[in-house]
Structures are given as C-alpha cells and as structure tokens.
Symmetry: C2
Subunit: 248 residues, 2 copies
C-alpha cells in the first residue's frame, strides 16, 4: 500500500471525507464509520463500517476498471483510505432499478418487487435541503446541472456499470435489485504523456452496500443498508458477509 500524506480536508459528507494530495489530479478519500438513512434523519455509527466500505468499493471499482469502466478509484491506501481522481461532481444521483423498491414504490404506489425490464435509469438533483428531488433530463439541463449530452453519457455508463455489477454479484450468489451512482467531470491537468488529459465523465463516489440494494440470491436475506434503514438485523454482519463474498 502507498504512503498516506493527507493534505487539507476539502469536503466532509455523511459517509466520507476528501483530502488534498501533492498531485492536483488526485485526492485521498476516507470512509467514515457513520451510517445515515432517510435524508440523514436516522443516524448511527458502526465501528469497522468505513473499512468495509472502503474495501468493497475498491474491489468493485477495480473490477469495473478491468471491464473498461473508468472510475475515480486509483488504489487502496490503508483500511479506510483510498487514492482517487479529483473530479467535479455532477450534482445528480443516478439510480438504476431492476426491481421496484423504496422511493419508486412510495411515490407511485407500485408494488415492491415488481420486475423492471428494461431497467429504469432515474436521475435526482443532489440537494439535501430539497431532499434530492427526482427530475427529468430536460429539467436537469434547464437547471444547468449537466448538458443533455452529459446526461445521455451518464445514463449509458450507469446501465453498463449495472450489467457488470449484476454479473460480479451474481457470481457470489448476490442479487442486485437497484443501486445509486454518482459521476464526475475529470479534466486531468497532466496525463501519462505529459499533456493535459482528455476531459471526460467518469464514475465517482462509491459503490458499496450503502448505495446498492442487495439480497442473497438463495435465501433472500438482505445484505445492504436496508438492514439499518428498517432495523432488520446485524448491519455489521451483513456488510462483512458482503465483503467476504466479494473476496475481501
């Protein structure tokens, strides 16, 4: 593992912190032990959760990278820290759904578990005060959150990311029901040939049990944040089981 040399803290969110490094294209991401749900109305901490999510995200983003899907993940630094690319986050939450659960059911009265095929790609405006409201491509473009071209790219990347994630999980007997992604604009100041790199939209943030709805394919047992959301069982055990299944 590389040496950790954290600079100024640039950002602290509900589950992560970001620090500068000497390289303007790279940041250090720290995973916290906090758990939040329902717009952070429900909060808790869980010792070891940051370490698990750091490793799960590294394993998944690593596998996505091997499949040709670029993300901000560069390498694991230690249990709770990873080196990541510095991006300008697109203020959209991108949700891909294979079954109807959660907010989709609450908003429209759709029965939980309804199969969704082809999958649905939803976008929401990342804004805590407004409770991340769901929106259309046209409204996102009108608000200047992203261009229609960027949104088309983001939705395509979300769909192919989902295909790869489903495959990875299913090999471990885990079924992916839906997940949330974030994307960033990466405009590297330097690339390996010494010039400024090609600006591009890449997968950002994290891919963990906090951002995926996952069940054991055989038993239906939940392995994700719903354990915490609805007090359904031992969250730590669920998260550890998932990490073990992914080979961490």
């Amino acid at each position: 593992m590389a040496e950790i040399n954290k600079g100024e803290m640039l950002y602290e969110g509900k589950a992560k912190r970001l620090y500068r490094t000497d390289n303007p294209d790279e940041l250090i991401m720290e995973f916290k032990d906090s758990l939040t749900a329902f717009d952070a109305v429900k909060k808790d901490t869980l010792a070891g959760k940051g370490a698990i999510n750091n490793q799960v995200s590294a394993l998944l983003m690593g596998a996505l990278g091997e499949a040709g899907i670029e993300s901000t993940f560069i390498e694991l630094l230690d249990e709770t820290h990873s080196l990541v690319k510095s991006v300008e986050i697109v203020p959209l939450e991108v949700i891909v759904r294979y079954e109807a659960h959660g907010s989709l059911c609450r908003r429209y009265g759709i029965e939980a578990g309804t199969l969704i095929n082809p999958p649905l790609v939803e976008i929401g405006y990342k804004n805590d005060e407004l409770h991340d409201p769901f929106l259309t491509d046209e409204i996102a473009a009108l608000m200047g959150l992203a261009t229609l071209d960027e949104i088309a790219r983001i939705k395509y990347l979300a769909l192919i990311t989902g295909e790869k994630l489903k495959e990875i999980y299913l090999k471990q007997g885990v079924k992916l029901l839906d997940f949330k992604l974030e994307f960033g604009r990466f405009a590297p100041r330097t690339d390996k040939w010494g010039g400024p790199g090609q600006p591009r939209i890449i997968l950002a943030d994290e891919v963990t049990a906090d951002t995926c709805r996952l069940v054991d394919a055989a038993t239906g047992e939940k392995l994700d944040k719903d354990l915490f959301r609805f007090d359904l069982g031992d969250v730590g055990e669920g998260y550890k089981k998932l990490l073990a299944k992914l080979g961490g």
Copy 2:
C-alpha cells in the same frame, strides 16, 4: 343551444360532473361553482364560476378545433353544461411551461419567472392520494398508464395546443405562463360513415383559468386560479375579465 337530457351521473370531480346521454359516444359535462387548490386543501365556492369556465373552455376548445386540434368538446348546451365526447381518460396530468412557477420552483429551487425555452412538457400521475406525483415517460409506461407511443403523441399534442393557446391569449393581451391538460382515448362506436371510428388520443377535460397560469401582458395582473390560491384579489372579477377578453 341543444336540449339537455341528462342521464345517469357517471363521475363527480372537484370542478365538474359527467352524465350519460342516449348516445354512447357522448356525455354531458357540467361545470360546478367550486374552487379548489393545493390538492383540495383549500376549497371555496364562487357563484357563476362554473358558467364562466364552461364558456371559456368552449371558446378555447372551439378555437383549437378550428386549428385542427381535436378535443372532447362538441357544443355548449347551456350556461354550465356542454356536450362532450366520451373518452377513456389517460391518467396523466400534462403540464407545459414557458416560465418556471409553482411546483417546479418548489421542487428544485428554481427562481420564479425563469424563462423556459424550449418549453418543458411535464407529466404527472393523476392520483389524489399520491398527490399527482411527477414522473418520466418510462415510469408511466412501466405503470401501464400509457404506452411510450401514446406519451409521445400526448406531448406533441400538448406542445401544439400550447402554441395555439399562446396565440389566442396574446391577441387579447394575455400572457400564458404554463398550463395543464388532460387527454383521453376516443374510440367512437359510430362515425359519420356508420362504422366504428378510428381510435385516437384527443384533448380532454377543460382549458380554463383553473388550468392555465395567465397574466395581463401589459400590467402583469393575474387572471387565473392564483388569485384564489394566494388570495391575491377578486377571483370572480379575474375570471370574468378573462372571459370578456376571449369574447364571451
């Protein structure tokens, strides 16, 4: 005016009632004097309002019909009744916006009055219990509310209806900021050649000051339901002014 021969009442909503006629393809629509806003949390009655809206809707749907946009409106029967085509209502509220106002501003924090060009066509699920939630074409299709083909047709009809409405209003010095439409599936059992008619999506419901956001183009004075929503002035006077401007 035609004779009124109301049969069984088929439907009573917040602002209208529908009755059978002897012709299975035709119903009688009655406009009530009730005013409701904010999901019917705010309610009142206003003597004469039903008559005004019946006439405004007849004038506007008549003009739309002359411009080639088919609606359910057939003819005025008396002050508060019109003869209309019997359709299966598509359970979507279709909103066309030329400026940001109301729910769009509340949901996303967009500044009121922001110009929207090209106009935005939003759809919502007509469901009082769920508060008419906003949705995407894909979710509406998933829920079986309409096919993607029907939604494309509905959005196109909403846009061309808006162009015609803007023109009609502007001739009278009235600016249209946004409006709501509903559409229905009309599958006539008989047509003028004696056979079953071509099934088609047509404009339904009403086009009145209850469903349009309107201001006097010169003074900015409100002429629509916002007078009632926000207690901004004499609702009856506003509605009467609008009817007078439209030549009723």
